[in-house]
C-alpha cells in the first residue's frame, strides 16, 4: 500500500470508523478522525446527549453507556458500534489535532461540512512541505446502514486510487469513473502539507 489514508467524519464513531475498520481489514494504511468539538452520542433525549472528549477510549464510553441504559443503547445500535470501534483503535481522534500523525495522501470525508472543515484546517496549517493531499468527500448519511454502504464505496475508491502510479495525474478519471459506476456524487479538493 503506497498511500496513507484518513477517514474523517464528525464524531469518529460511525462512518469514519466503519470505513476505518473495513480498510484496515483490507490491509490499508488507514487512520480515522472526527472534526467535531466533542464526541456526541445520542442519549435518552435530545437535551441529554452523551458528550465525551476526543481521546476518551471507546471502551470507556461502552462501559458508561452500558451502565446507563443497556437496553436503549443496544436497541439504537450504539453499543454494538462502540464494541466494533474499540476493536479498531483505542479512542476517537480529532482531525484538527492530528498534526503529529504525519501527512496523509488521501483523506476521505463523509459529509460536506466535514470536508469543508478538513480543507479549512489544512489551509490554516503552514503549507511548507508542498506535499499534496487529495481530499474526497463521499456523502454518506449518518446511520448504521448507510455507513456500511459508504465504507464499501470508500474501499472501492481506495482500491482504484491505489492502483495508479500517482493520483495527481489521474484523479479526475478515477473519480468520474467511480461516479458513473456507483451513481454517487463526489467532491474533491487538493490541498498541501
Amino acid at each position: 500500500m503506497k498511500f496513507r489514508y484518513a477517514m474523517v467524519c464528525s464524531s469518529n464513531q460511525n462512518r469514519s470508523m466503519e470505513a476505518h475498520c473495513l480498510l484496515k481489514k483490507q490491509g490499508f494504511d488507514v487512520s480515522s478522525y472526527g472534526t467535531g468539538t466533542h464526541v456526541k452520542l445520542p442519549g435518552p433525549s435530545l437535551r441529554e446527549p452523551n458528550v465525551y472528549e476526543f481521546g476518551t477510549p471507546y471502551k470507556h464510553m461502552f462501559d458508561d453507556l452500558r451502565r446507563k441504559d443497556p437496553e436503549l443503547y443496544k436497541r439504537n445500535g450504539i453499543l454494538p458500534m462502540l464494541k466494533r470501534n474499540l476493536s479498531v483503535k483505542l479512542a476517537p481522534q480529532r482531525w484538527q489535532d492530528n498534526a503529529a500523525d504525519g501527512y496523509f495522501d488521501i483523506v476521505f470525508t463523509f459529509e460536506e461540512k466535514v470536508f469543508d472543515m478538513v480543507l479549512e484546517d489544512l489551509h490554516n496549517r503552514d503549507q511548507v512541505l508542498l506535499k499534496s493531499v487529495l481530499v474526497i468527500n463521499l456523502e454518506v448519511k449518518d446511520n448504521h446502514e448507510e455507513a456500511a454502504v459508504g465504507a464499501r464505496l470508500a474501499l472501492d475508491l481506495c482500491e482504484q486510487i491505489e492502483a495508479v502510479e500517482s493520483w495527481e495525474d489521474s484523479v479526475d478519471d478515477i473519480l468520474i469513473c467511480f461516479e458513473n459506476k456507483h451513481r454517487r456524487k463526489l467532491l474533491y479538493s487538493i490541498s498541501f502539507y
Binding site: 439504537n76 456523502e139 502510479e165 500517482s166 479526475d172 487538493i190
Partner: protein
Amino acid sequence: MNPVSREKLASLSNSVKFATDLGPKLELCRQLKRDLLEEDAAALSEFLSHIFDLYSDPSGPVRKLATEIIGEIGVKHLEFVPEIAPFLITVLEDATPAVARQSISCSIDLFRHTLEKTAIQGLHSSELDSDLESSWSWMLKLKEKIYSIAFQPGSGGVKLVALKFVEAVILLYTPNPNGSSEPPPNEGTPIEFNISWLHGRHPFLNVGDLSIEASQRLVLLLDQLRFPTVKSLTTSVIVVLINSLSAIAKKRPAYYGRILPVLLSLDPPSFVIKEVHVYGANNALKNALLSCLQCSHPSAAPWRDRLLGALKDMEAGGLAEVALNQVHKVNGSVEDEKDHSSVIKEEKPMTKACDAAGSNVGRKRSGTEDSSGLAETGDVSGKRVRSTPSVSEESTKELNRNTSMSQGDISSAQSTTRKVDVDTGPVQQLVAMFGALVAQGEKAVGSLGILISSISADLLAEVVMANMRNLPPTHSHTDADDELLEDMCIVGSNTQAKYPPSFLVDVVSLSSTFPPIAALLNSQQSVPNEIVIQKTEVGEEVDVMAGPNSTVAYAGMAHEAENALLPGMEKIDVPTPSDIQDVGNLESGIPGLDSSFHYDGLSDAQAASSLVSTDLEDTSQEQGTSFGGKSPLHVLPSISIERSEELSPKAAVNDSSGVVSSTATSVVSSHPFVLPKMSAPVVNLSDDQKDDVQKLAYIRIIEAYKQIAVAGGSQVRSSLLAYLGVELPSELDLHKLLRDHILSDYINHEGHELTLRVLYRLFGEAEEESDFFSCTTAASAYETFLLAVAETLRDTFPPSDKSLSKLLGEAPCLPKSVLNLLECLCSPGISEKAEESQSGDRVTQGLSTVWSLILLRPPIRDVCLKIALQSAVHHLEEVRMKAIRLVANKLYPLPSISQQIEDFAREMLLSAVNIDAAEITDAEGLIIESHKDSELEKPSHEHQSVSSTGKDISAIFHQSETSQSGSSPSVPEAQRCMSLYFALCTKKHSLFGQIFIVYSSASKAVKQAIHRHIPILVRTMGLSSDLLEIISDPPTGSENLLMQVLQTLTEGTVPSAELIFTIKKLFDSKLKDVEILVPVLPFLPGDEVLLLFPYLVNLPLDKFQAALTRLLQGSSQSGPVLSPAEVLIAIHGIDPERDGIPLKKVTDACNACFEQRHIFTQQILAKVLNQLVEQIPLPLLFMRTVLQAIGAFPGLVGFIMEILSRLVSKQIWKYPKLWVGFLKCAFLTKPQSFSVLLQLPPPQLENALNRTAALKAPLVAHASQENIRTSLPRSVLAVLGLSPESQPSSQVQTSQAHTGDTNNSEKDAVAEISKESSGAS
C-alpha cells in the same frame, strides 16, 4: 569525518546500490539518510557525489528518496546549494512524476532557507559572501525552471506542485501585514520570515523588485483562470489554482482587488468540459470565497457584498451568513476593546494609518457592522416580502423568528453578540437595502419604487421607523477619521453620508401616502431625534458615536423582546406608569404581532415572573444610584461604566428640559430601565422556567385551536401548529401535547391531516439531518408519535373505522414498531401481553390495513405480506380464515407477490409433513398395524355406509384421535399449517399435485387434516384439466386421497366423460384397484360393469356393499345401472376358479344381496331363479341361493317346488355339489318337496333317501297314501320299500347312508353345503 562512519556510509551506499529488492533498498536508503543527516558539512561534501549516484537508480521510489535526502542535506547545509540546485533542476525532468514532485518539494524548502539567509545576512552587513550569492543565483535558476513548469500549458501532477511553489514564492516575496515588520533581534528565534524586514537596506534584494516579480507571477496565475486558458485545465489544476489564489488573497489582503475579480468572474459550469466535476471546482470556489469573506482585513470589506452575492448564487447563502456572523463577533469584541482604549487615550495622535483605520472600525462598530450585516440578508428579506405579501404569512415568519430568538440567542449573556442578532432583523435588512439602493443614486430610482410598492404598508412603516436612527443628528463631526471610514464603507448604511437629506424627504413623503402610519411615524420620529439632539448637547464625540446606536439598538431590543413573548417584559412595565405608555407605543409599531399572543404572554407571566420582577427592581434601583461595575449584565464592565456615565447626564438634561413631548419623555426616561430590562429576565429565567413558558404558551395555542375550528383556513393553521410543535425543543414534550390534542377528537380536529403534517415534519428532520445524533433523535420522535397515534386509533375507534389504515397508508414511512403493532393486530396473541379483548373485527381491520399497505407501499410490501402470511397460519381458526381469505382472494392474484405467497404456503405445508417425519420412521410400523386393526374393526362399527371410503378415513381419524402421541403434530396443528395451501389450490389447481405428493409421507394427523379439507376443496375447484392430470397420475401412496377426491367429484353430479375416461384409464394402466371405479360405477354402461363385477365382488365386503348400493341406485339421470336381478345373476356368473376369486367372497356377495330384502324381493328372486335354472351348466351357487331364498321368503316354496322339479328333469344328480343342495332343499321343504322327490328316478331316489335318512319315513308315509301310491311306478315303490322284492338291497344302501348322516339336521345341511363349496374353491 571519522573513518569508521565514512566506511560505514560507503558500505551503506554501496549496499543500496547493489540491493535488488525494492523493499530492503528503500530501508537501506532511509538508514543512509538518518546517518547522513548526522554528519558535518565537510564529510558530506565528500560524500555528496555518492548520493547523486543513487539517483541513477532505475526504480522511482529510490530516486525519490535520493532526491529527498539531497534536499534535506541542502536545507541543513546551504553551502551545498550550488551543487544541489543543478541536480534538482535535472530531477525536475524525471520521467516519474512523483520524483519530479519531490524535487519541487525540496526546492521550496531550499529556496525559503536560502532567501532567509541571504536576506538576514544582507541586513547585518553590506557585503555578502560569494558562496551565498552564488547559492542565491542558483536558486533563482531553479525557481525559473519550476515557474516554467507551472505555467506551461497542459496539466499533470507536477504542475500542481509547481503552482503551489509559485504561491509559496509569491507569499515569500510580499510583506506579511500580520507579521512583524522587524527582523527578530536574535537570529535563533523561530519566526516566520517576512520580506518587509528588508526595508530597502539590502545589497541586492530589493523589496520593490521582489514584489513586482510576485505580482507578475500572480498575474500569470490569474491568467490561467481567465477565459479561455481555463478551458484547457483539468479540475484538479483549477482546484489548486483557486485554493492558492484564495490563500494568497487571505494572507496578502493587498491583492484582494486583483484576485477577487477573477475568482468572482469564474463560472465553473461554463469552463469545465467534463461536466461531472463541476462541483469539485465549484466547491473549491465556494470555499475560497467563503474564506475571503471571513477575512477581517479592512481591504476585504468592500468586497463583501459581491462575495455574498456570488455565494448566494452558489446557494451557499446560509454559510455566508454564518461566516459573517463569526466575523462580526470577532470584530465586535475587538472593537469593544478598541473603543475602550480610544476613550482612554483620546488625545493620542493617530500616527499610523493602519491603526487609525482599525480603531475607526472599532469605534464605528455598529456602523460598519450594521451595514454589512444588513447588506448580507437584504436580498433575502426583500425576496421574502415580495413572494409572501400576505399578512398572515408574514406574521408566521415573524413568529418563527421570534421563537427562535427566545430559545437561544437572548439567553446567551454575551451582550455584544446579542446586539448583532438584534440588528439583523428583517426590518433592518430592508433598511439596509433601501440604503444600498439610494446609495446608487438616480439609476436605482426604478428599483426603489418597485421595492416600496411590493412591501406591505406596515412593514414599510417599520422600515421608516427603524431608519430614524440614521437621521443625521448634526454635522458636528467631519473629522479625518470619518472620512477614512466613509472611504472604506462602500455600502455603509449608517453614516450621514449614506443618507442624504433627499432620501429622507423621499421616505417621509412615501410614508405620507400611508396616513395611519404617518401619524405613528411622526410620534416615533421625534424620539430618536430627541435623543440625538440631547446627546449632541452633551457634546462628547464618543457619545455621539456610541450613544444613538446603542439607544436604538436597545429600543430595537425591546421590540424583539416584545415579539418574543417574554413575560418578564410586560410585568416589568407595569410598575411605572410612564412605561405603560412606552409599551403601548412600542407595540403599536410591531406589525403582525398577534394580539392574542400578547395576551397569552401577559397572563402566563403572572405565574412565572414574580421572581424576575423583583430582581429587576433591584437592578433598576442600583442603576438609579450608580451603574457600578458589578452589573451582571455586561461582559465588559468597563464599557458599562462608561456608558452609564454617558447616559446619566443625558437623563438629567432631559428631565430638566421638560419641553419634550410626552412620548419622548417616556422613552427617554425609561431608557435606564430598558437597559437592564432586556437582559434581566433572560438571565434570571432558568431553563425550567423557559420550558414552562413555552409549554404553557403552546397549550394555550392548542386550546385556542379548539375554539377557532370554525374559522376555516385549517390548512394553514394545522401546518402552523405542527410546525410549532416540532420546532420547539423536543424536551418539552410538546409532541405529547399535540398528540393529546389530535387524539382528543381525531375527527373534529382534523386529526389525520394534522398528524400527517407533524409526521412529515419530523420525518423531514430525521432524513435531512446528516448529524448522527439529531437524526437518531428525530427518528425516535417520529416513531413515538406515529406509534402513539396509531395505538390510540386502534384502541378508541371501532374496528370498522378506516382512520388507522389511512394514517398508515399516508405516513411518510413506517418504522418497525408500527409494523409490530400491525402484526399484533393481525395475529392476536403473538405478543406476550394477552389481548383477549380483541375481537375478530380487529383482525379484519388489521388485515385490511395490511392489504392496503401492500397495494400502496411497494417498499414495505414484503414486510406486510409477511404479516398477512403469519396471520394466515394463526392458531385461531377465525383469524386464520380471515387472513387466508385475504391472501388467497386479494393478494394471491397480484402477480408480483403470488410466487412469494406460494412459496410460503408450500413451506408451511411441508413443515407440517416434516415435523413428524422423524416420528413416522419409528412409528410407521405401529401406524400400519393399527391401520390394519382398524380395517378389521371396521365392520363392527359400520352399518349401511353410504361412502365406505369416507368411513375408512373417519376410522383413521378415530384412531389417531385416540392414539395421539405427544410429539407428532395434532390435527389442528396440521390444519393450521396447511389451510393456506389448500386455499391457494382453489386458485391454482396445479398446486394440488403437491398435496398428493406430500400425502404419501404424511403422518396420520396430517392425512386426517387433508381429508377434512378435501371435500370443500375439491368441490370449490371442480374438475379442471389440472386436476384431471393429477388424477391421471397419482403418486403411489395417495390412493386414499385419490378415492376421496373422486368421491367428492362424483357426489351429487354426473362426472364428465373425461373424468370417467381418466379413471378407467388409470384403472386399466396403473392402478389395478377397482375401488377407484366405485365412485363412477353408476355412470358406466351396464355391460362394462358386468365385466368388472368379479373385481367388485373381490373387494372387501363393506366396499362391495357400497359399490352394490351405487350400482343399484345408479345416477339420478340414467337410473340404475343394473337391476337387482342382473346383479344376482352376475354374482352367480362368477366362476371362482376362472376369475380367481375366493368362493367365500362370492357367497359373501350373495349374502350381502339377501340382506337387502327391500331390494332383492321375492319376485326378483323368483325371476333370478327362473333364469338361473335355465343356465347350462347350472351356477355353482344355485342351490345355495335357492336355499337362501326359501330361508328368506318362505312364501316362495311353491315356486321352489317348480324349480326343483325342473331340476329333476335336468337330472340334477349329475352335479354332485348341487345334488347335495337339492336334497337339503328337499329336506327343508318337506312335505311339499315329496312330490318332487317322488319324481326322481328310483336310483336317485334311493340315493337321496340314503343320504338323507330322515326323509325316508315321512316320504314313505306320504307315498303310502292310497291315491299317491297308485300313481307311483313300481320301481319307486320298491325303493320306498313299499314293494317287498326290492327292499333288502335298498335297505343296505340306506343303512350305509345312515352311518354318515344320522344326526343331520337343517343346520348341518347348510353347513355342509358351505363346507363343500369352500372345498370347491
